[in-house]
């Protein structure tokens, strides 16, 4: 362990302290700008990037302007994944596939409160896993509004549950959320590893959320209904015909086939020797070719503002990294934890969860990625650390009303469509409790997997770690 501490101490930090402090301050100021509503997130990130570029060039932290292109070059694959999956999700959503499936399942519940509630929560979990949070939330929020109004159920328990279950769905696969995509591509985590490590805990965290939600809303829904009530509900729900919302069955079938093929492609990307970005772009192109009726609209639906946001963010991280701030921070983290995985896992999980609940999980993930890399350079096994960041960044969203886009959409929809306000206190009581249990559970889960040796090594991480450790020991 002393060797690891020595490694942290001897890590090369050439930049003067005041420059490091200045760069860290600009980065923190940008994150504050991202967190407060006064600024647009993308504008805040781009402003931070411009300020740091000027500082980096004028203070000699970066010597050539072309070096900034190098910062972005390594992240182009993330843009490819965002563009490809964005197109694919838009085309499949337009086909009515997810609307159809959700209506089919809702109809199968017969409209009974308990069955409907658990069906909608389960749909949320799976839809977010496939579609990411925003499109899934829009589909499920609208489903909740239409069905609750038709069956005279209160909207609030359903919408809040959807918002909270969405964050469990976001950790199922590589493509379920932006932090996963960022961490997965940077750390070269194969898609299958997500299914082995984060997906099982996604299910556990979903069950934890369901348990707490069921208790919290024990008096809010008619959990037990009489046979007469059930018959009336059955009659009402049978008025909905899932096929009536499908414009073309062939487009629907083709969209489903392309989506399944893309998911299989993600799983096979590593053995095939191609990147996730290639699979995503191939899936997006196939969707436009075989199922896209409005090509221009679907391309326009790609979240270009998030790409601009990432652009700014990656420049900021690159500059801060060049200024050795992250090297120093990585060293400090190793020192604080004594280089022990058993300390680093809870530290990173708690930090990423709390920070994500307050700021936004994308800059949190973007900042932690180079720090975890830095920790890895000291010989610490990074695999459990990556997973603690993935789980923490996503589950932290349940902590506050602004912690996750699912909560933001749900609370906004509740206010606008149901004239219902959910205060911070009420949300913290519900979401905060769930987040605490889920994050604590994730720490125990990862430590258990680590101690059992069940966390698979990353394709090229294990040998690198071994070499680094060997070098330090010598």
């Amino acid at each position: 362990m002393d060797v690891l501490l020595l490694a942290a101490e001897t890590s090369e930090v050439d930049t003067p302290g005041w420059v490091m402090l200045l760069f860290a301050a600009v980065m923190l100021a940008t994150y504050v700008g991202v967190a407060v509503e006064r600024f647009h997130k993308t504008v805040a990130a781009m402003c931070g990037a411009i300020v740091l570029v000027i500082l980096a060039l004028s203070l000699g932290v970066v010597e050539e302007f072309d070096e900034f292109h190098e910062f972005i070059k390594h992240d182009l694959n993330i843009f490819g994944v965002i563009i490809g999956t964005g197109i694919l999700v838009d085309v499949t959503s337009r086909s009515g596939l997810f609307h159809f499936l959700s209506m089919l399942i809702v109809r199968a519940t017969g409209g009974r409160a308990a069955a409907l509630y658990f069906a909608i929560c389960t749909l949320t979990f799976f839809f977010v896993a496939v579609l990411t949070i925003v499109p899934a939330m829009l589909i499920l929020s609208s489903l909740v509004l239409v069905i609750c109004r038709s069956l005279d159920y209160p909207v609030k328990p359903f919408l809040l549950s959807v918002a909270i279950c969405a964050n469990s769905g976001a950790i199922v696969t590589f493509a379920s959320g932006l932090p996963n995509i960022m961490i997965g591509t940077q750390a070269k985590i194969p898609y299958v590893h997500f299914l082995l490590i984060s997906a099982p805990y996604a299910l556990v965290s979903f069950l934890i959320a369901l348990g707490v939600l069921r208790f919290f809303f024990r008096k809010s829904l008619p959990w037990k209904q009489s046979p007469i009530e059930k018959a009336q509900l059955e009659k009402k729900i049978s008025q909905f015909d899932p096929w009536a919302l499908v414009e073309s069955r062939y487009v629907l079938y083709r969209s489903a086939a392309i989506l399944v093929a893309t998911v299989i492609g993600f799983a096979l990307a590593q053995p095939l020797g191609v990147g996730m970005d290639f699979i995503a772009l191939a899936g997006g192109t196939a969707a436009l070719l075989f199922a896209g009726k409005t090509v221009e609209d679907s391309i326009a639906k790609v979240n270009w503002t998030v790409i601009m946001f990432f652009l700014g963010l990656f420049i900021i991280i690159g500059c801060v990294k060049e200024a050795d701030v992250l090297t120093w921070l990585g060293g400090e983290v190793v020192e604080l934890s004594g280089g022990m995985v058993t300390a680093l896992v809870p530290l990173l999980a708690v930090f990423s969860a709390v920070a994500s609940a307050i700021v936004d999980n994308i800059p949190v993930a973007a900042t932690l990625i180079p720090i975890v890399n830095q920790i890895g350079d000291t010989g610490v096994s990074t695999e459990p650390l990556w997973w603690s960041v993935v789980l923490g960044c996503n589950l932290g969203g349940n902590g506050t009303p602004i912690g996750s886009i699912s909560c933001v959409i749900a609370l906004y929809t509740l206010k606008k469509e149901a004239n219902t306000n959910v205060g911070w206190g009420e949300f913290l009581k519900l979401g905060g409790t769930i987040m605490l249990i889920q994050v604590a559970g994730s720490i125990l889960y990862l430590l258990m997997l680590y101690s059992l040796g069940w966390i698979p090594s990353l394709p090229d991480a294990a040998p690198a770690a071994t070499e680094a450790t060997t070098a330090l020991l010598m």
Binding site: H99, M103, L138, Q239, F240, D241, L245, R249, N303
Partner: protein
Amino acid sequence: MYEPSQRQVDSDLEKSMAMFRRAEVGELAPLEPIQPKHVLLALDGSEQDPLGVQIAKQLRDRLNCAVTVVDGREAALATNDISSEFAKTLDAQVIDAASLGADDASYDRILAAIKQSGADLAIAPSPFGRDLSSVGADSTGTVIDVLLARSPVPVIVVRDEFAADKQILSRVRVILSGENRSAPRAAQWAAGLLSTGGTFELMLLVETEFYDNVREALHALHPEEDIKIQSLETALAKIHSRLHAQLQAASDEYNFSYELLVEHEGEDQPFAEDETANYLVVLAIEAADHASQSHAHDLIRRSPHPVLIVPRDGRES
């Protein structure tokens, strides 16, 4: 996670809710196709006659229906026999010209022939008895105007732009631009004429002029409000959601592929596809609805395909 703007959430949420609401159609039986038992082919001695014959032949071959041929020209112009040869090709009966009013106009002769033959579907060229190349897209002709207004049975209007050798019954497109009580009837006819395994398209078309009118009216009442053309598309889809659901069910029952197309009028809409495509356009008209009538006239003039006009319920015999 990155947040979309409130406006974007509002818009996407509204679209998604509209989609779900469209599913609330109640319990519906599949739409039942209507097939003709007897087709009347009206001839005018023009170059368009072979096209009408071709369609009548396709109908007879596919549906095994009876065909009757009538020379629809006014008596003074009917100096030669144009019916016998075509009737032989079609194995059809011919209406004796002497049995029709000697001084009657062509539309009266055709209407009388429909009554006399007991036909439940008529085929007539447009413009009737005139050279299409000189009239062009400016007129459907008086005979067609009157037939559309008075015919008790659906009429297939033939214009020579379409290729006569193509199978038009393998694809039908019902075009609706607003509420129309004849729409289910038109869809039943369209499904009845469609070949087994064919393609049925229900096109809901928001016309630019209609959108402009709604927008201006709304703006006059509420200056701060605006309406997007997509909102009218959503409304149109909602209006015809029951018909859509019935067609979905019918596509399974009667083995055809079905697609709903919700669009707004572009430069070439609703005929913006490949020029080699051939299909039957189907329009529904209501006698008291001037908008549906002018819509039908406009589309007949512009259509490069044959057009089936289906009148309101109750006018058919």
